[in-house]
Each structure stands twice: as structure tokens, then as C-alpha cells.
Amino acid sequence: MSKIRRDYENSLWRKLVRFVYGENDSFHEKAGYDIEHPETEKRKEETFFEEVDYTKKKKESDKFFAKYSAIAEKRGEKVYNHFYKFLAAITCFSIIMILLVTVAKLPSFGNPDNPVNNEVSERYIEQGLEETGAVNIVAGMILDYRAFDTLGESHVLFIACVCVMILLRLDKETNDPEKLKALENDRDFEPKNEAILQHAAKILVPVIILFGIYIVLNGHISPGGGFAGGAIIGSGLILYLNAFGFKKTEMFFTTKTFSVVSVSSLLFYSLSKTYSFFTGANDLHSIIGPGTPGAILSAGLILPLNIAVGAVVACTMYGFYALFRKGGI
């Protein structure tokens, strides 16, 4: 909000307003007419108001003001809602057009001579299998050449889960009535004991978790890896939780399990990568050799790192769901 200027009365805008409303015509002064000065008018008003019942007058004017300001507000919202669609369309269109002009000048799609396909990807493809032992070149890239990046990613996931825990955790010994109400609501209206879902979950949960373990263990010889496999294991846990409720899940998955599993996997990851950086990063003389490409027990440190990442991701996915659903793991 801008301040009202002190010399507002003498400003050009005020003069224009006065001219429009006919309060003070500047031509009159020039012509020498006898007109009332605005200050005298003001004084007159003050004396007039001193005599009347001030509180009653104020109440009436407040009522009047509230009535018309409400109308103005409502109308303003309506105008805004109409204006919003127009503005959104224009913004969307202009941003898309500006970016499309840029895209039209980019190198063409699917061309092997593009500048993206430079010597870096050539090196990864041609030397990757020999140096890391991973058949899946992407897995070899993200867990060997750029493993530091993946370490940061898994820490980001863990820290996000901890942040959500800080924001949404509901203590049972809390005194806050709103929190207590939220705690009761989720437990009360949770649908319980659905026969179809329970029978389906009995068959599906082991299969889903087994598939997740398969994806994690085959991270270096097929697509997938720690992130995808961990997400599948987490979804299996969420299905179990949905079918059988929190009491049965708390028998094997509590906050303690969460912290122990994720912290120990993150520590294992950090320690093993520290070891490999300490011994000289790329020319890694690991105790675990690359092995024969294509076998499950191959590719050096990639398999254990995949398992660690998968454990962190599974815990985090389950943790997110449980925190949002009931406010606690």
C-alpha cells in the first residue's frame, strides 16, 4: 500500500478530481469569482458534527458502509473469476509460444549426430560393461560413475520423510484438541474388515513383494533397480496396510524398524562409497570384482548398493502413506 502524500491537496491528480466533481473550478479563480475556500467548508463540517449524537451516526454509517463494501467485494470476486480464465489462457498461450519458438530451433529428434550424443555417452557405452560389470548401462552409470549423486538422492528421500514426520506426526500424549480430533477421525471412519480386499491381499501381497525383490536384485542386468523395486515393495506394504489395518502392520513395522532400516542402509551406502572414493574412484581396486557380466552376483558394489537404495525407498514410501493416513508410522 502506498502512503497518502502530504501535499495531496495540491497535487495534479487532486486538482483533476476537484475539477471533475466541480468542487473547485480553477477557471473561477482566474475569472475572479467569489467562491468558498475548501478549508472553510471543512471547519463548518467539524462544527456541525460536534452537535449531533456521534455514536449513533457512526453505527449507521458503519452499517451502510458494510452493506455496500460487501457488494463491492462480491462483485470484485466475480469479475476476478471471469478475468482469471482470460488471464490464464493468455499466460499459457504466450509461455507455450515463446518456448515453442526455442524448440523449433533445436537439433532434430532422434538424429545420431546431435550434440547431445558426445564423447561422454560414448565412453559410458563402450567402457561401461568392462569397468563396472553391469549389463544395464544406466545402472552402472548411476551407481558407479555417478554414485555420489544417487547418495544425495537417497538422502533427499530420507530427509523428506523426516520433514513429513515433523509436520504431521500425532503424539498420543498431545493436549492439542484439534490434533486429538484428527487422530480420532482417521481411526473411526477407517473402513474395516472387507472380505474381498483381505482375500485378494492374502494372494497378492507376497507376489508383489517378491516381484519387488526380483526387480531390486536384477537392477544391474535388467531395467529397474533400487528405486523401482523399492517403490514396488512399498506398494505391497501399503496394500497389506489397507487390507488388514494398522494394528497388524504395527506388529512388524514401527517407527523403530523404519529408523533402523533406513539409517543403516544409508550408512552402508556412505561407507562403501567412501571406501571406493578413498581407493581412487574410477580405477577401483575393490575386494568385490566385476565378475562375469549377466550373473546376479556380479558388477562389484552395484548389487549391495541397489539393495540399500531399495530398502530406503521402500521404508520411505510406506512412511509417507502411513504418515498421511494416520499421522505416525
Binding site: 499459457c92 509461455i95 523449433a104 529428434f109 532422434g110 547431445v116 555417452s121 548411476i142 538422492e153 523428506a160
Partner: protein
């Protein structure tokens, strides 16, 4: 104009990615509902993944998984954008979770998801 259209015809996937990006950007900046703002951010993320994946593709080549020990540049697509997309997905999941948690806290405090209403209530409380 003709040059522009032929340039777009050359790269349809990038053009679609840009259109998705524009839709997400508009929703993020102009929609008053907090949940829809988060949806807009997620659409923007998806557009960026599509753009990166399209940049990595090369006609007639296969996914970067070594088959029969062939390790020549001419057999596989570019693996670097795939790794970048993986990083992006993980970060986007964490950011979305934290944003949703903050939205839940805001809803518990003000009982509305409209950002304008929340600002009005805050202004009233401040005075």
C-alpha cells in the same frame, strides 16, 4: 512461419512436452487452490521428463542394456538423459510429499485450501 512449423514437425515429442509445461506453469501460478498448484508442479515435472527422454532417443537403436556383449556406440541410445530422469523423479516425489504435508497443516489451521481466503484470514488476524 513455415520454418517454425517444419521445425516443430521435426520434433513432436519436445513440442508436446513444452505444451504440458505451459499448462503446468499456468496452473501453478494462477490457480487459487493449493492442491491444484501442486498438481501443476507435477505436470511440469512430467513435461521435463518427457523432454529429457526425447532428447536421449535415437532412431533405430535400443535401450542401453548390453545384449550379446555388443558394446559399440551405434547399438544403443544415449544413457545420460535416463539417469537424469531418475534423479528428477526421486526429487519430485520428495518435494511433492513435503508440499502436501504443509498443505495439510494449513488446512488444519485455516479450514480452507484457497490461498486467497488464507491470506484474508491472516490479514484479519494480523490487524
Amino acid at each position: 512461419m513455415l520454418e517454425f512449423l517444419s521445425g516443430l514437425n521435426d520434433k513432436p515429442f519436445e513440442a508436446v512436452a513444452i505444451i504440458l509445461f505451459g499448462i503446468g506453469f499456468t496452473t501453478l501460478f494462477l490457480h487459487p487452490n493449493l492442491i491444484k498448484k501442486i498438481m501443476g508442479l507435477n505436470i511440469m515435472d512430467t513435461a521435463v521428463y518427457l523432454f529429457l527422454a526425447a532428447k536421449g532417443f535415437i532412431y533405430g537403436r535400443k535401450a542401453p542394456i548390453v545384449v550379446d556383449g555388443v558394446t559399440s556406440m551405434e547399438a544403443y541410445i544415449n544413457p545420460i538423459p535416463s539417469g537424469l530422469v531418475l534423479t528428477g523423479i526421486v526429487v519430485s516425489v520428495s518435494v511433492t510429499a513435503v508440499m502436501l504435508a504443509l498443505t495439510v497443516r494449513l488446512y488444519r489451521r485455516y479450514h480452507t485450501l484457497d490461498i486467497d481466503e488464507i491470506l484474508k484470514i491472516i490479514r484479519k488476524e494480523g490487524n
